[in-house]
Subunit: 96 residues, 2 copies
């Protein structure tokens, strides 16, 4: 399992826009053939901070996500809503 | 979905012990009635850093995990293997 945790800090006035756009990205991403999870999390004590939990069977499957129409639309939609550049940290999934 | 991301930094000489103990915790935790995910991740560019991705149906289910024999055994087993105190960050799961 190839997992990327994407940490996103959103401008407060765009939190609702960000959730709506990211929900659309989630709905399409979970239908990708190599996708295992695409969970969208909002930090409990700071609603402007989010984590996208993106798990794929392989690194190639994760790379293919970056070429999808829904990812490219999401990336463009959220570009001006970030309070700082987002950060993706790659992990090996040991369990399951 | 109530999600805790537990960030763990392990002493290099105890990485293998930590993985074995955490695998046992994973195997029992996914059988808890309110558990949705209990993923164990190792950071790709620093194998001494781990994330436990613990998703439960409710906060009460997450709390109940802390009373299980497998959690208490894990907590005791890993106590001396931490390079620094672990940090749990609570999130609301928006999708799914």
């Amino acid at each position: 399992m190839h997992v990327t945790l994407v940490h996103v800090h959103v401008k407060p006035e765009h939190v609702d826009d960000f959730i709506a756009a990211t929900r659309r990205n989630h709905e399409a991403s979970v239908k990708e053939p190599g996708n295992l999870r695409f969970d969208v999390l909002q930090q409990a004590d700071d609603p402007t901070r989010f984590v996208l939990y993106e798990a794929y069977r392989s690194e190639a499957d994760a790379r293919a996500h970056k070429d999808t129409a829904h990812y490219l639309e999401w990336r463009e939609a959220v570009a001006d809503w970030m309070a700082e550049p987002r950060q993706g940290i790659v992990h090996r999934g040991l369990c399951p």
